[in-house]
Symmetry: C2
Subunit: 659 residues, 2 copies
């Protein structure tokens, strides 16, 4: 059996080092294949794109500094197709094995041991090293590869290895030169508060910097009062099984007229391809492209706390192995991924993606008040979910398909906020004291969703549509109630910001396909999420390396391989290179062309005490909706059957309140 060109590489197909994954075919090669596929004429002898793997690996020679190579390999023909060396101005993405090396080097470093020894930690506490990417390169221009670590102490007395060490932050950050395998510096952290000179380090550090810190456990068996007992079970049952179908090759999903392929790669995690509804093309590809998390504490060296969670280490590499009954309810299909270890050996990462249906309340309803006849349908959603853990934080990403032709991309931020030590009794302008001795620093999370539309074809046009007030006038607006819809096609690659005061909407349309009812081009639309953009000063390294985070919408001309909003190489970057800002600068024609739309949104996260020790999810959702794509509400034929398993509350549930 042939693999579909979009099926991720199997374990057998994967085998070399830093990362190996499917190199998606050139669009010009894939489109004819997809057309053949959807016409029903695909057969074993049909031409198909070569099955390519992108291999990223290190050449470790006599040089101190290894070269990072990237090759594209034909895994069937066993031929190397192309090959490049990552320039010295870039750093390859990190792999988790480098974090292990960091921890080991740190533990063995005399400099680190001496720094820790200066602290008189309470009995039973041990040091925990939390590796982090180094952030922007601190205005140095050498090609050193650095890692840094946040340092905590863990109370070992409970014997539970999951006791929350983040509650005990130590005020040092060791820095490792990766090539030297050496801790080259220990940065000492300020622990002062409001009104203290932010740029001067404390003269002396308290001997026991965590003496005023208190436990903040979240593991059920460590909670002092245990878990609550009065939350009764709520189960989702699907007695006839799910409504979706998954093909044996595990990449093709069909559900309620939707049909798409699920991809998975070490960088982006789950991706969605060739999305069609009732045989009509909607999107060529949908993905989470990048995310940056800059911290706003101006004290040295916290400006280096800025992660690019997709580019630095890879969302797929950090994907959770999901388990039944924990991350979703109902009937669940899990997808495995293939990842590589440091030696290049492929291993299966089980359950990195889950697929399930969920109820989302009423889908549509109308009651005829004359007759009393109500017709009400539920909104069912099909969810493709993956969850990533990045040290302290987690993100839950979901692609959701609904019965009314809508696609949503949801992001939930949870996990443990990043904290540093603060002296007893102090408050800070740079964050909030969320636990005793624990300062959660202000930060932002800025996400980018990449939308490659294929609205009834591969040539589309993006319109900016706004609703504008019109001044009262006798000619066209005598009563002052008129507003006008203004539509402007995007002719040249550009960026736009959200403008809710104008009801600004981004429409992706096919001007060659006209809706027979409205006589308008068929399309899909979204409202850019009006959230705060990157706050860092434009001249800062934080901002220079995250250009993508400075506008809400980018419209670019498609280029093969141009998938990453913040550029291909974000680790220790000083500038965004090859990201959306560069793509826009090409100034290409994007009207009635193969166009890509990038949607940016963010959370300015000034922590609350309620975010500690694990924060409740903070949800954001981008809604991509059909606009004159169909000839009526596609959910109009959803059954309005009464759900027979719903029950009335029993009367004995109604008399227990403490009046």
């Amino acid at each position: 059996m042939h693999h579909h060109p979009l099926t991720p590489l199997s374990e057998a197909e994967t085998n070399a080092a830093r990362d190996i994954y499917l190199e998606e075919p050139l669009k010009k090669d894939l489109i004819p294949y997809l057309q053949l596929e959807h016409s029903g004429k695909l057969c074993p002898t049909s031409p198909r794109p070569r099955r390519l793997a992108k291999c990223q690996y290190d050449i470790v020679g006599s040089e101190r500094v290894p070269e990072f190579h990237e090759a594209v390999v034909d895994v069937e023909g066993k031929v190397r197709i192309s090959y490049t060396v990552v320039g010295k101005q870039h750093q390859a993405s990190l792999i988790l094995a480098e974090f292990d090396i960091f921890v080991k080097v740190c533990e063995e470093s005399q400099m680190f041991k001496d720094a820790v020894a200066k602290f008189k930690l309470p009995e039973g506490f041990e040091v925990v090293i939390e590796p982090w990417p180094y952030g922007g390169r601190d205005r140095v221009t050498d090609d050193s590869r650095y890692f840094q670590g946040l340092i905590f102490a863990q109370d070992k007395r409970s014997g539970n290895p999951n006791s929350n060490f983040y509650a005990f932050p130590l005020p040092i950050i060791p820095v490792m030169d990766y090539h030297k395998r050496e801790i080259v510096r220990i940065d000492r952290l300020a622990t002062g508060g409001k009104g203290e000179d932010p740029l001067t380090l404390p003269e002396a550090t308290r001997e026991n910097p965590i003496g005023h810190c208190t436990p903040a456990e979240y593991i059920p068996e460590l909670l002092s009062n245990g878990t609550r007992k009065d939350l009764k079970p709520l189960n989702v049952l699907q007695p006839e099984g799910p409504s979706f179908r998954v093909a044996q090759d595990e990449s093709l999903v069909e559900w309620q007229k939707w049909r798409f392929r699920v991809g998975f790669n070490p960088r982006e995690g789950a991706t969605i391809h060739d999305i069609r509804y009732d045989g009509r093309s909607v999107l060529y590809r949908l993905s989470l492209s990048e995310m940056t998390v800059p911290y706003a504490d101006p004290r040295y060296p916290f400006h280096r706390k800025q992660a690019f969670d997709f580019g630095d280490g890879g969302a797929g590499n950090c994907a959770n192995n999901l388990s039944l009954g924990c991350d979703c309810l109902g009937v669940i299909k899990y997808f495995d991924g293939v990842v590589t270890d440091a030696e290049g050996n492929a291993t299966v990462a089980p359950n990195v993606i889950c697929l399930h249906e969920q109820d989302n309340g009423i889908g549509w309803k109308h009651t005829n008040w004359r007759t009393g006849r109500a017709v009400v349908t539920r909104s069912r959603e099909l969810v493709v979910q993956f969850i990533i853990t990045l040290a302290n934080y987690e993100y839950i990403f979901a692609y959701k398909f609904d019965l009314a032709g809508g696609i949503s991309v949801e992001s939930r931020a949870t996990g443990i906020v990043s904290v540093v030590n603060i002296d007893p009794g102090k408050q800070s302008e740079y964050g909030n004291v969320v636990g005793n001795g624990v300062l959660a620093q202000n930060h932002q999370h800025i996400f980018c969703i990449r939308i490659d539309p294929a609205i009834d074809g591969y040539k589309n046009t993006v319109y900016i549509e706004e609703s504008h007030a019109v001044e009262m006038n006798d000619q066209t607006n005598p009563e002052g109630n008129l507003y006008r819809i203004c539509k402007t096609p995007v002719e040249q690659s550009s960026w736009f910001d959200a403008a809710p005061e104008k009801n600004r909407i981004i429409k992706m349309v096919n001007t060659d396909k006209i809706n027979p009812i409205s006589q308008r081009p068929v399309g899909y639309k979204f409202t850019p999420m009006a959230t705060q953009l990157l706050l860092a000063d434009k001249r800062s390294i934080q901002a220079r390396r995250a250009q993508f985070a400075q506008h809400h919408v980018w419209v670019t001309k498609y280029r093969d391989g141009e998938l990453y909003a913040g550029g291909k190489y974000t680790l220790q970057s000083q500038e965004e290179v090859g990201g959306v800002s560069d793509a826009v600068k090409r100034g290409e024609n994007v009207a009635n062309e193969d166009v890509v739309v990038w949607s940016v949104f963010g959370i300015t996260h000034n922590p609350r005490v309620e975010d500690w020790p694990v924060m409740p999810v903070e949800c954001y959702q981008l809604n991509i909706r059909p606009t004159d794509f169909f000839t009526d509400n596609p959910a109009i034929d959803v059954p309005s059957n009464r759900n027979m398993s719903s029950q009335l509350v029993r009367s004995d549930d109604c008399s227990k309140c403490n009046l």
Copy 2:
């Protein structure tokens, strides 16, 4: 047994005409009662506020124009406490009996019969009259009470009384003088399209104005292809019953440390009172206050299409009678309401509110990557829901309480968009052709949620909090990553707009209660929803009567009875009188005072073909969240038990795709 002062009037307590409902006690009288109640010292002899009813009724005497009276009656003492006559400059809210009268008068009107007779309707079609409020008073200043009607034709050939008549709009609007019980005018509607003079009516009307219209059914038995068969059941089961408890008097609800009272009245529908968490006061009252729906077609007389769905007719009066298995899943408690008919007789409106729990995905999660230990909890919500039908449209409103101390107010718009006739083949600048011959006009829905905070006490302060970029400078921001949080207390009653570019947040805090961890005042916050405000020209009647719809946030000093953002009397109003704009003008001190916060948001609804014939829900949600109110995440003790009813997909679901 005594009624709790907040329990709505029972059927027995209700008996007089236009509307009768609980007149909530003065706050100064209720607070001592609540304090006694929550201290556990309430007993049958405790002092309590008088049980008052607000009665609205008509005095029909020898005069042509009846007087509208409002009286407050002590239903136990059977004494009238106060009484006012609604001034001639106002109109009392409409009651549904007036709509019945309109339809009857219209049907008997020779003028209307003549207008209809000019149309040569196809065989089997009959006229349907859809009564509407008259909108703004059309710059007339007399005290006439008008109603208008949109006119449709219904295909009676199927014999199904629920065949969708909105698909066949007739281009006339009859206008009735209610006091004369007479159709005084038939407005003729333009049916032209783009480029035609908007203010000139068509010279002649087509004989059969619906000859080009086509059916648009949504009733399952009328769908030409029936309903889809492949959506398998998804059931929510709660084998141990719900986790909530409802007191026998039906107004008190307890769930997961939350405790509140549910009210219901003809104007606002469901209201929530005395909201407490773990014994601590959070909100005194939470309600949907008003909503206006102005239409933007400038052609006469469409500027009169502007509903105030709470003030004109009453959301409670229009509440659906919900039924099991249709409007929510799981174990459901329904609340009845008491409404009055035109004669003042009380009747029970069954199931106007439903209460149920729902799962909202992951609540919080963290995986310790060192040990692989994942702790993941679900987000459970308690939902108080009511649904209103206003002729063609429906709104689904839900107050939602979560496990992490959050309260959300959700609004879903669904139902049938308001349409008018358009000639064959034409398009319009004033709306979209969503069905053949059917123009859905552009319009807005602007909602106002009223929040009466009581954060750990009744005196609170509102802060406007923003996150501001700071220019790079050697003194305080050498690396350019700093941003500052700016907090400004609101000293005097004022309005504010959403400012997502500044991450503007509204915080309601108690400056006398300090969080022991962060040393900041305890509070609740929300981000004003950045949606487009009212577009109508400020000088227009549409805008003058909907001042509330022109800013996102209003902060006012509490006054008993000041509940309605758009003023008490909205029907045919020309100005907003006694609404939030007047309340703000009082210029009262609101710092550390009894303060009320009003949150405005809206939908600019430029219809899509997909909104026809019944639109998929359009959802908006206001999130009210604790901010340093607690000393940690209140959901940290939620059990992370594996849900044992979840199932893996069976392998035979995985091979059915059409590869």
